[in-house]
Every structure is written in C-alpha cells, then in structure tokens.
C-alpha cells in the first residue's frame, strides 16, 4: 500500500515536471504563431536538456568516494522543478515582446524622441528586463541544482558548483545549436 502510494506520488511529481518542461518550450514559439512542428522541436529541446542533465550529473557523482547511490529519480525530479525560473522567464519575455510599444510615430520631433528614449520605465521594462531575465534564470538553475546535489550526495558545495555550472551552460548552448543545424 505504502509502496503503491509512493509510486503514485512519484508519477504525480513527474507529471508536474513534464508540465513545467512543456510550458517552458511552448511559450516563445506559440506567441509568435509558429507551426506545430517548430513548437514540438522547442519542447523536445528542453526535454533533451533536462534528460542530459539528469543522466550526466548523477553518473559523474558515482566517482565521488562517499557517494553510494545514484538517486536518479530524486535528482531528475529536482532538476525538472529547477526549470521553473526558465519557464517564468520565457513567459514574461514572450509577454513583454508582445506588448512592446512600437517605434514612435514617424511625424514626431527629435526632442520628443529623446524624451521617449530617456523614459526609465520604458528602458527597464522593455529594453533591460528581456535581456537580463534569461541570465538570472540560468544562474538560479545553477544555484538550485548545485544546492540539492550537495544535499543529495553529501559532497561539498564548491565541488558541486565546479561540475554543474559548466555542464548546464554547455547544454543550454550546445543542444540548441545541434538541433538548429539539423534543420
């Protein structure tokens, strides 16, 4: 009874992880109005990144002396939930791009253009935020995965960071390039 409850709980957690991953991949493409196959490719990209993180890091942990179990299930669920910052970042950026004000009317003067460009709210919300959010999201992912890797496997924080940070950065850049080149 307890074992079946545990399996059900795990399945529910995996369901939420999948939901987060699908939403992360869905938003940027769906706002633009891309066809279905491109939306699917974006989703597959995110799932592939998650899979790679889930496979590479636990198997690297095997080589640490005090690590006995790989704990793949727990790690994969934690990693899935860490994608929340990227999901939120993608939703916010898609929304901002959709609502971004267009170039001011062709008839206004240079002085009026200058006033518009010096509007701090416009600069912060529409020019700075879309650029800074992805960086903050990736930084949070690195911090989150580092923290629970340290907790899960009992290794030092700094050891965890040295392994995870480069892998995450590489995966978030390499896999998209590989998929793009296939097309």
């Amino acid at each position: 009874m307890l074992k079946s409850k545990k399996i059900i709980d795990l399945n529910i957690l995996y369901f939420f992880v999948l939901l987060i991953l699908i939403t992360t991949g869905l938003f940027p493409s769906i706002i633009i109005g891309n066809p279905l196959f491109i939306i699917l490719i974006e989703i597959i990209k995110i799932i592939l990144i998650w899979t790679c993180i889930t496979l590479i890091i636990p198997f690297l942990m095997k080589y640490f002396p005090n690590v006995e179990e790989i704990k793949l299930r727990e790690f994969s669920i934690y990693t899935g939930f860490s994608f929340l910052p990227i999901m939120i970042s993608n939703i916010v950026i898609s929304f901002l791009n959709f609502t971004k004000p267009l170039f001011p009317s062709d008839t206004i003067s240079l002085n009026q253009l200058r006033d518009i460009s010096e509007n701090y709210y416009y600069q912060i919300i529409y020019l700075i935020l879309p650029k800074i959010l992805p960086i903050i999201a990736i930084s949070i992912i690195i911090i989150l995965i580092t923290s629970f890797t340290k907790k899960l496997y009992g290794i030092l924080m700094i050891q965890s960071l040295y392994i995870i940070a480069p892998i995450i950065i590489l995966l978030f850049y390499i896999i998209p390039i590989l998929i793009s080149n296939l097309l």
């Binding site: 891309n34 170039f103 460009s117 700075i128």
Partner: protein
C-alpha cells in the same frame, strides 16, 4: 533530555554552518556573475561610439582618423597580418604586387587619407592599403569569408511623412573578426558632402552610409564571375557619397568606373528615387525602382536582373531564401512603415521551414553563433538621420544618429 538538548544545539550549529556557507557561496557567485552582467549591460545600454573626423585636407582627415581609432586600427591590422601571410602563400603573389595592381585605380583622396592614417595610427601605408582591398581580394581566396547581407529599398510604399528609405542587415561569416571592427564615423571632409557611415576601423569608405545631401548608399557582396583591375569597393563607396547629390549622380558615377569585383550597390535619395546597381569587373546594370514598379527594391548576395544573372558564379541557398523572404514580407503591403522595417530586420523567419526559428543563414536576421548579423541600418534621407543597431538586431537596440545628435536606445 541532555542528549536531546545536545542534538538540538548540534543541529542548530549545522544549520548556522550551512547558512554561513550559503551566504558566502551566494556572495562569491554574485561577485563572479554580476560584474559580467554589469559589463554586458553597460555595453548594451551605452550608446554606440560615434567618431567625428575632419581635416583641412584629406591627409589631415586621415591623420584625425588614425589618431581617434588608433587602438582599433592596430587590432584589425594585427589580425590582418596573419590573413595576409595566408594570402601570399595561397596566391603566390606578394602584397607589393597586389598594391601595384590596384594602385592606379584608387582615387587620390583615398590615398591621402590612408597616408594620413599611417602617420598617426602606427600602421604602415602598405598594410592600410591592403586592408582597404579586403573585401575585393579575400573572399576569392578564403572560402569561409562569405557575406549574408540583406537589403530593401522602400520607395512608393514608404509613408509620406518618412519618404523613401532603406534598411539592411550587415552579416559576415567571419563574425569573430568583423563585429569588433565596427565603428560609426561622422566624416567632415575638406570638400564634398559630410557623411554618417558604418564601417570597420581602418576602412576608408562605408559599408552603409548617408550623406548631408540626402543620398544614402549600401553595398552587398555578390559571388560574381569576373574579377580584375578596378576600383576597390570601399573606395567607390566613399567617392560616391562624397560627391553625389542624388541617386542619379550616384548611378552615373558607379556605372562610369571599373570595379575590382562584383557588388550590388543600393541607393536612395531624399526625393525617394531608388536604384540598385549590379556590377562586375566588366559589366553593370541598373535596376531603377520606377522601371520595376513594385514600390520597393531588394538585394541579397546574387544578381537579379536578366542581364547580370548569368554572371553569378554561385547563388547560395541562403541568398535565394532571403530574397524570397523580402518579397514575401514587402510585396503584399500597401505601406511599409519604419516599424515594419525594424520588424523585418529582426525577423528570424525561415522561408524553407515556413517558421520563425533561429537557425543560420536563411533568415534576414541571422542568429547562428558564428555567422550572425552584426548590424542593422535604416537610412532615412528625407529626415537626414539614420537608425543603427550595433550587434545582432534581435538582441540589441536601435539608436537614432543624425549629423549632430545621438538619441536612444529607442526600440
């Protein structure tokens, strides 16, 4: 009870240790990450550097250029030294032979500017001369040095308040070299027209520019089949902007000279007269907007006209698809506003996939990490200003640059 208290104290100590370590970790991460973010943001938010150069004669103009861009010119030429070595090994011709070959075709004004630059930048005249032949000789030798620029000239379809204008992306496959070389110059020559030009450090001549008489000019590389003795591209661009007061003047000049290699020159003036001049070393043809009668003209990296299309040595899939993307975006519009132009210059729409996706070279704005768009330029002759985006247009902002001002970031 005592054991329990000891355990609680031990747990509290562990938690304190962990909190202390976490704080130290986050502080260190912040110290590592945020300066990079800060520098990156600073580069994105501070306006592009505009360099004003002037002189009582062309030699002094060159001296001013060499002084103000000394570091960048030296950095460009240090990279060029390696390429020059490869050039000599590949073609078996010395640099001196190249200089002698093209020297008769380079106008005196250009040579004086280069002499002035050599005096103040610390780079020799020969190196700077070869630098100014870069686009004519290197693509023929090095296969990777291709260009993927897209341009559109809007004439009848432009709103009346704006007048005719053009938009273009500047792309290069050698992105690791080109993007850092970019500069924006405001040139105040001793005679002729003032100019706002987007170019590379050390180049005497623009890739894109606007002059004070309202003539704006762009150039796209073409894989043409005829190369030879003639005026280098950068020199012809400079001379066109220097002395032309209308599209007709520009066309007359570009069709009267012999060009070193193959190009598409795009021109529009403040009267909204647009033209694209397709040239090889031996031939040329002018596509006038009033003859094509579409309200716009487009150019990528191959010849379109019937007379010149047989002189394409190679038409890349990228060039074809980008041209078709321009047609798809502009043909059906009755009016093509500046907003439409900015959206098009930022478009990652891939016609082959029929989707907005960020692959490589089939979209107007290329996002491939090694071959991406490094600049977008919109010239508005009637208003006497330009909109420039330095860097990939998808990731950077447009600034408005006039002969006296810089405003932005705007969009």
């Amino acid at each position: 009870m005592r054991m329990r208290k000891r355990n609680i104290n031990k747990n509290k100590k562990n938690r304190d240790d962990i909190s202390a370590k976490a704080i130290i970790f986050y502080l260190i991460s912040g110290l590592i990450f945020f300066p990079f973010i800060g520098i990156w943001l600073y580069n994105r938010l501070t306006p592009p550097t505009i360099i004003d150069i002037k002189g009582d004669n062309f030699f002094q103009l060159g001296q001013d250029y060499g002084t103000k861009c000394k570091d960048k010119i030296n950095s460009v030429c240090s990279v060029l030294a390696g390429l020059t070595y490869l050039l000599e090994r590949t073609t078996k011709k010395t640099i001196k032979e190249y200089i002698n070959y093209y020297d008769p075709y380079v106008p005196g004004e250009i040579k004086d500017i280069i002499k002035g630059m050599a005096k103040t930048s610390g780079v020799s005249y020969e190196e700077l001369f070869i630098l100014n032949l870069f686009f004519d000789i290197y693509p023929d030798v090095f296969e990777g040095l291709s260009f993927f620029c897209s341009a559109f000239i809007i004439t009848e379809k432009a709103p009346n308040s704006v007048g005719g204008y053009f938009g273009r992306t500047v792309d290069s496959a050698s992105i690791v070299l080109m993007e850092d070389w970019q500069i924006i110059l405001r040139v105040h020559p001793p005679k002729g027209n003032d100019m706002i030009i987007q170019t590379g450090a050390g180049f005497v001549g623009p890739i894109t520019g606007l002059n004070s008489e309202g003539v704006s000019l762009l150039v796209n590389f073409v894989s043409g089949d005829v190369y030879g003795k003639g005026i280098p591209m950068l020199s012809s661009m400079f001379m066109t902007l220097l002395y032309s007061n209308s599209t007709k003047d520009a066309v007359n000049y570009l069709t009267s000279i012999r060009h070193a290699s193959s190009w598409n020159f795009g021109i529009i003036d403040k009267n909204s007269t647009g033209a694209i001049v397709e040239v090889t070393n031996e031939l040329n043809y002018t596509r006038w907007d009033y003859l094509e009668n579409n309200g716009w003209l487009g150019a990528t990296n191959h010849f379109i006209s019937e007379k010149m299309e047989s002189h394409n040595s190679y038409i890349s899939e990228s060039s074809e698809y980008r041209y078709k993307s321009l047609q798809k975006a502009i043909n059906d519009e009755n009016e093509f506003t500046l907003n439409d132009a900015i959206k098009l210059l930022r478009s990652s729409y891939d016609l082959k996939l029929n989707a907005t996706y960020k692959p490589g070279l089939r979209s107007i704005c290329n996002n491939d990490p090694l071959w991406s768009s490094m600049c977008a330029f919109i010239a508005i002759p009637k208003k006497n200003y330009v909109l420039i985006c330095i860097g990939n247009p998808n990731q950077n902002d447009f600034y408005l640059i006039s002969f006296n001002d810089i405003i932005g970031p705007l969009i």
